[in-house]
Symmetry: C2
């Protein structure tokens, strides 16, 4: 454990390779990961967590990039966790354009980490939150989660944010449809990006129309901004809106209650993981395999096997 | 339980309102749901399960609609489970076009069920599989899962299919990017829909190029078809390709092994659910709430609370 404590100390000093190492421990579910997070925990809670989500191609990465640049100009430290499978951060672009992050990626005050979404079975949102804790403890002022906003696990990730931004583009009726996937409920504000394109104002209007029917229980009314992130337009307004929402949360004591909720969820997740891991020992795995042939031969149902195992 | 057995008998006779009732029990996690599924289990395994996935707007619903119509003309019974949040089946269209299912929806041999994806925390893929079992037992020859292919839980749903089709459109570089989200690995074949639009042949070529690098371990090489589903073009070819893949699975004994895998996963899911439900009794919930204040006050970490609870 001596070495783990060294890693912790180095993470707390904000050393990049220690941060990278820490996130890797978390990502690979290393046996020391939980102990690492336990040791770091007291040093978390300082970073403000921003979720940026929306359909592929809406410009989430560009906005994240420009926001990071803006925060850097204010001497803030920024952590970025990209879990969008189509994001250039994650190397997601296959045949499409690849937005380069050269603006910020070499800067010592910006830490970018991509988390694979494919192959990861449900553990993704847990791991992104843990990675955010590592970044938080390392002294980041802002942690940005960038994720494509369609699937359930992606929504779970965004729920870990203090402020959530949904990015859309003017022409996408698809995006508007995608809003049904829960985006309407999670957005603290909307950004219509690529607002140089026709239909931007109509898109803003449409969203505002739908928002009329949203009764926020927390006294916050989600606004709709426009941006043209490629040219850097609208980025300061986005940063200002994040700040405004943060002030709202602080004034109404909502940040604390959000974080308490999250701590509860965290404990639940950890307990459920442990229950699972402890139950599925070699003996039970063997039992499962021997019983399953009876299921495929229709002598037993999966429900009977469950009873046998429990 | 007398009434439950009646529901079972009526489901087995294929009575629509009993099927609807059965799926509702499953969807609402009714206390009788597991017993219902246990009683139905021996009658499952006859339906062939097809997953149709792809980005919003690719025409998945139209293809599903036309395929259902084709199967109906062959006197086959069809069940459709729509979990695409943007699907017209789920009433997902908010401001966009709403494809009507009038062609098939009134037909007694087609059963359409939409499953909400929002609000459902992780249980969605479990419920869709259970709904498919109900449809299977009710005598459906084909069960189609229609889902938007981006998130993890959506991919989990598609993994429950015997044959998985990924639908794309010519112009969407986005779609190609979205393929990185695991779609490349799960597609048994691709369909480039709306192939009347420019770029269809290039899109087919691009996908084939990427597919060259895919080494299927099961001896099956995913093909790329074209369709123009609005006009009904390419639907017979899609049905033929499904049949071809099915033959391949049967010839190589892969259908059986796929289904065994699925039965194993099913037992695992059920066990994990039970572990969770049994652990989180009132007493432990109370304990969690009383400990969590210590976490927010940084006297304890979530990891310590986990130890206390276990």
């Amino acid at each position: 454990m001596r070495r783990l404590e060294q890693v912790v100390e180095r993470i707390l000093r904000g050393e990049r390779n220690a941060v990278a190492r820490g996130i890797s421990l978390v990502e690979n579910e290393h046996t020391n990961a939980t102990e690492l997070l336990r040791l770091l925990y007291a040093h978390t809670g300082k970073a403000y967590r921003v979720g940026i989500t929306g359909p592929p191609g809406a410009g989430k990465s560009t906005i994240t990039n420009k926001l990071a640049k803006l925060y850097r100009s204010q001497q803030k430290r920024v952590g970025i966790i990209a879990v969008d499978p189509t994001s250039p951060f994650t190397g997601g672009a296959l045949l499409g354009d690849r937005v380069r992050m050269t603006d910020v990626e070499m800067d010592d005050g910006v830490f970018i980490r991509s988390m694979a979404s494919r192959g990861s079975l449900g553990g993704l949102s847990k791991k992104t939150k843990e990675a955010a804790d590592v970044l938080d403890a390392s002294g980041c002022d802002i942690v940005v989660f960038e994720t494509v906003g369609v699937g359930q696990s992606e929504l779970d990730i965004v729920r870990a944010a203090d402020t959530t931004i949904v990015v859309l583009v003017p022409e996408s009726g698809d995006s508007i449809q995608a809003m049904k996937a829960g985006l309407m409920e999670i957005a603290d504000f909307f950004v219509v990006n690529k607002a140089d394109r026709p239909g931007a104002d109509q898109a803003v209007m449409s969203i505002k129309m739908v928002l009329q029917f949203k009764h926020g229980s927390d006294g916050w009314n989600p606004d709709v901004l426009k941006s043209f992130a490629n040219e850097g337009k609208g980025i300061e307004e986005i940063a200002a809106q994040i700040e405004k929402h943060k002030e709202h949360l602080l004034t109404h004591n909502l940040l604390q209650s959000k974080r308490t909720e999250r701590a509860i969820e965290r404990v639940r997740e950890l307990v459920n993981d442990r229950l699972r891991v402890e139950f599925w020992n070699d003996e039970r795995e063997q039992k499962l395999l021997s019983e399953i042939t009876k299921v495929t031969e229709k002598q037993k149902t999966p429900y009977d096997v469950v009873e046998t195992l429990l």
